[in-house]
Amino acid sequence: MTEQVHQITVTVNGVARRGEVPARRLLADFLRMDLGLTGTHLGCEHGVCGACTLLLDGVPVRSCLILAVSADGHAVTTVEGCCEAGGELGPVQQAFQDCHGLQCGFCTPGFITTITAYLEENPKPTEEEAREAIGGNLCRCTGYQNIVKAVLRAADLKRERESADE
């Protein structure tokens, strides 16, 4: 048995990346194994925990449920792509540090990407909305208290940074 491979091109964090992958390779595995972008983590591989969340054309998806071949021609943003252009922590990342929103850090990339996309839609969430926004991601360490705070803080930081840029 030899596996047939497919040529794909995926824009990852703004850079076009080519690869040759078997049809069954998960998008998460393509990023981790082929591209060495190990920030995207796999916690369950069945679509529940959200650790593997990344943005596909700006929309949060679970990369353990998507084949690499189906990302061909699309744009992917991973946690590595949530930093500022200069490499400093992005607003969501910074908020997580400020609020102690992570402990082991394993679930964190999925939260960072999810919240990054959410704040585009709702730049000024209430606490209730913040809790809802992260309601699809599992964290076993933090009890979510500080992640909720981090969502609110990230919204503030993002606004501050955007108005500073203007």
């Binding site: 981790r32 916690g43 540090q97 402990q103 850090g105 394993f106 992260i134 933090t142």
Partner: protein, 795 residues
């Protein structure tokens, strides 16, 4: 002097790396390594009658297939019994690969190695193992019945039976002669640590150097090292074990060596190639470890004031198919059950039973949640019986601060006497009373009732032995750049040690926390350690870091005194702001980094810095060992006892029996706090796990021993929407047992949660809750049963 860093809620140093996606967890390492996968038993109890690999052989990418028959020497022997105990009369441990018999679904039978994980699983899928079924033993009832046996040679399925008494008289007599008596039967179901990252092992064999390098997602790299060396018959000095970033542990990763921790390194040596295994989620459910399941029978005798005169507890503990970690969990239940209370005569007996299920080893709390459940249910039952306030019954039984140290008369899990070193339990209960709003609750209940809502309040307290020995150590070194490097042997799984240990070292050395780099869990850097479990890391390693750093500070003063000359004595000096300076005259000073240069007298200079330490340059101290560094160990005489009290208000839906937590309050005392932000986070995380254990999480086996909910879809870890806002309040009773006054905090949040939630539901519903976790449908059934009883009575 800088403001002290210990006690400050600093943000964590490790975060930026983790937040950028630059963490290095096990599966992020070893790109290009061969991948291992396992064929695991699909049945709970069976003899293996055949293993057929024919179909698997033509999978491209196959490298090797191993069964028990292939394993040489000590690898073919059962895995070690990590913690022997005289009462553990029938210990059984698993083989790396099943030796003719399987004892639970998920037990490893065949190991496959292939060029990547996809292919390894292709191979595994094509291997046919045939089984001859044996009757499975599932659940405590079946284990107790003893009609079916897990291990032929463990009669009655009993691994251990153990009795402890507190030396204050005969419990049954005390109960029989007490003015009042009650008996309770209690149940706690199975749960599991369930870290977001499963286990994983990567091994590299350097054939030239004859050195084995193993990365493992473990809570104890030093002990994995010794275990691997023993099993593979290598000198320990040829084995290095490194714990990379770990995605949570919560107890399950303290067990070692897992079969994979032996097999993967052995395969790497055998094949001469790097080999990696990363556990998937289903494997984690069926082949790691679980905890919690117990049945308890409590008998208690008490007086009019609710004071416990006699207490007898019988525990049946489900230890799963094997006992590699010994009987630690039921020992902890039996001893920590007493909590902050003084009890007349106490007798506890546990029976640890084999079942054909995944092994049972400590999960955060490690037997305490079950013990606290027993004690606090008993307190509530007494209050109900006497018509007393539930808090008043607890207050009547509290150990008073002036009675400290208080000897409970038992032997704890560290083999030392269970003596509470310090604590102020009356204040703790007063604080939780205020925080949860105990006194105003009847008005609140009435107001809710007026809206047709049903609410209840619950409260409970615990004491937790933390910071046990035997020891931890640390090596502290000041580099010539001024950077301070702290290496400790214990591992870290998210507890923030890179920050909290840096705070401790920085205070002693008078540097900033940014100047300190902490290294954990790498046997190349520090070889002697026990591990991160049982809320012990900050107590043991924290004090070791302080001890080692103090030695470095003393050495720095001696070297600086020699360099400053002019009659300056080491005692005149202090370490402040990265300098060693004269207390009386701070301008007379020398940089700590320069002291580091001088600490290593040189013959050869290779830059401006090192010139200063050459033979024709400045005065270097004589009689010192080179290097501004030192090693220190902290060996506690016994555990130090942290404590806490929780209060909760729940609402139960009169129609649907839905259970909702309205507020959750925690009073927490872990002695001197190094980093309040981190401790608070630990409490939050523990409470969330406690709420999971109280309302949502349970491991379910069917009668055939199939684990029916082995996925995150079906094992319900709380999401953010299930965890309420948690209010916390802290108190500090410093431990007198260690120089820094610390007590552990890692497990606190989870310990009394099931007990207090049960208490609150009972209060809301007016019916006895004797089994946790509880789901809405179970609450509904309890209501129906009560209704049926009422109708029977009226008929």
């Amino acid at each position: 002097m800088n403001d002290k860093l210990v006690g400050q809620p600093l943000v964590r140093k490790e975060d930026p790396r983790l937040l950028r996606g630059d963490g290095r967890y096990l599966d992020d390492l070893g790109r290009g390594a061969l991948a291992a996968a396992f064929v695991r038993s699909p049945v709970a109890h069976a003899r293996i009658t055949g293993i057929d690999v024919d179909e698997a052989l033509d999978v491209e990418g196959l490298v090797a297939i191993y069964t028990h028959e292939d394993l040489p020497g000590r690898i073919a022997e059962p895995l070690p019994l990590l913690i022997p105990h005289p009462d553990l009369t029938h210990p059984r441990t698993p083989y790396c690969l099943a030796n003719g018999e399987v004892n639970h679904v998920g037990e490893a039978v065949v190991m496959v190695v292939a060029t990547d994980r996809y292919l390894a699983e292709d191979v595994a899928e094509r291997i046919r193992v045939t089984y001859e079924d044996l009757p499975p033993v599932v659940g405590i009832d079946q284990a107790r019945a003893g009609e079916r046996l897990v291990h032929e040679d463990a009669p009655g399925n009993v691994a251990a039976r153990s009795v402890q008494t507190n030396g204050k008289g005969e419990a049954h007599e005390a109960i029989a002669s007490a003015p009042h008596r009650l008996a309770l039967d209690l149940h706690i179901e199975r749960s599991a640590s369930m870290p977001m990252e499963g286990k994983g092992v990567l091994a590299h064999w350097d054939a030239d150097d004859r050195t084995l390098r193993v990365h493992s997602s473990t809570q104890t790299s030093t002990s994995v090292r010794l275990a691997v060396a023993a099993k593979l018959e290598l000198p320990p000095d040829r084995v290095e074990v490194i714990t990379p970033d770990v995605g949570g542990g919560f107890g399950v990763k303290i067990v070692h060596p897992w079969p994979e921790e032996i097999l993967v390194p052995w395969a790497a040596m055998t094949l001469g190639r790097d080999v990696k295994w990363v556990e998937d989620r289903r494997e984690h459910f069926t082949s790691s470890a679980h905890e919690r399941a117990q049945q308890q029978h409590v008998e208690v005798g008490f007086d009019e004031a609710g004071r416990l005169l006699g207490l007898s507890v019988e525990i049946w503990h489900d230890n799963g198919a094997y006992v590699p970690y010994g009987i630690i969990v039921p020992i902890v239940t039996s001893t920590q059950l007493l909590g902050p209370y003084k009890v007349g005569a106490y007798r506890v007996e546990f029976t640890s039973l084999y079942t054909n299920t995944v092994i049972v080893t400590p999960y955060r709390g490690a037997g305490r949640p079950q013990g606290v459940f027993a004690m606090e249910r008993t307190m509530d039952a007494i209050a109900e019986y006497l018509g007393m306030d539930r808090l008043a019954v607890r207050e009547a039984n509290l150990i008073q601060p002036e009675e400290m140290p208080y000897d409970q008369g038992l032997v704890f899990q560290d083999g030392r006497p269970l003596i509470y070193d310090s604590g102020d339990y009356p204040t703790m209960l007063r604080m939780i009373r205020d925080l949860v709003g105990w006194d105003g609750f009847e008005a609140e209940r009435a107001a809710a009732a007026a809206e047709g809502r049903r609410i209840g309040i619950g409260i409970g307290a615990y004491v937790e032995g933390t910071g046990m020995g035997p020891y931890e150590g640390a090596h502290v070194k000041v580099e010539t750049t001024g950077e301070v490097v702290v290496s400790t042997g214990l591992t870290t799984q998210g507890q923030g040690h890179y920050t909290s240990l840096a705070q401790i070292a920085a205070d002693v050395l008078g540097v900033g926390v940014g100047d300190v780099t902490v290294i954990t869990g790498d046997t190349r850097r520090f070889k002697y350690a026990v591990g991160t479990f049982a809320s012990r890391a900050i107590v043991t390693s924290g004090n070791a870091v302080a001890i080692a750093a103090a030695k470095v500070a003393e050495k720095a003063k001696r070297i600086a005194a020699a360099a400053l000359g002019d009659g300056v004595a080491p005692e005149d000096l202090e370490l402040v702001d990265g300098r060693v300076r004269r207390r009386a005259d701070p301008a007379t000073a020398i940089d700590l980094r320069t002291v580091a240069v001088l600490s290593n007298p040189l013959r050869y200079a290779f830059d401006e810095e090192t010139k200063a330490a050459t033979q024709f340059a400045a005065a270097t101290a004589t009689g010192e060992e080179p290097g501004l560094e030192a090693t220190g160990y902290y060996m506690p005489e016994r555990s130090t006892y942290a404590a806490g009290a929780h209060g909760v208000v729940v609402e139960t839906d009169p129609e649907t029996a839905d259970i909702r937590i309205l507020r959750y309050c925690v009073v927490h005392d872990c002695g001197v706090v190094v980093n309040p932000r981190i401790v608070e986070g630990q409490v939050h995380g523990g409470v969330a796990q406690g709420i999971g254990g109280a309302l949502y999480e349970r491991i379910v086996y069917d009668d055939a021993g199939q684990l029916v909910n082995a996925s995150y879809m079906d094992f319900l870890i709380p999401f953010a929407t299930e965890v309420p806002h948690i209010q916390t309040a802290h108190m500090v009773t410093a431990s007198g047992l260690n120089p820094l006054g610390l007590k552990g905090a890692g497990e606190a949040g989870v310990i009394p949660t099931s007990a207090v939630v049960a208490s609150a539901i009972e209060d809301a519903e007016g019916l006895a809750v004797r089994r946790m976790p509880i789901s809405p449908s179970e609450l509904y059934e309890l209501r129906k049963a009560r209704q049926a009883r009422k109708e029977q009575v009226s008929a």
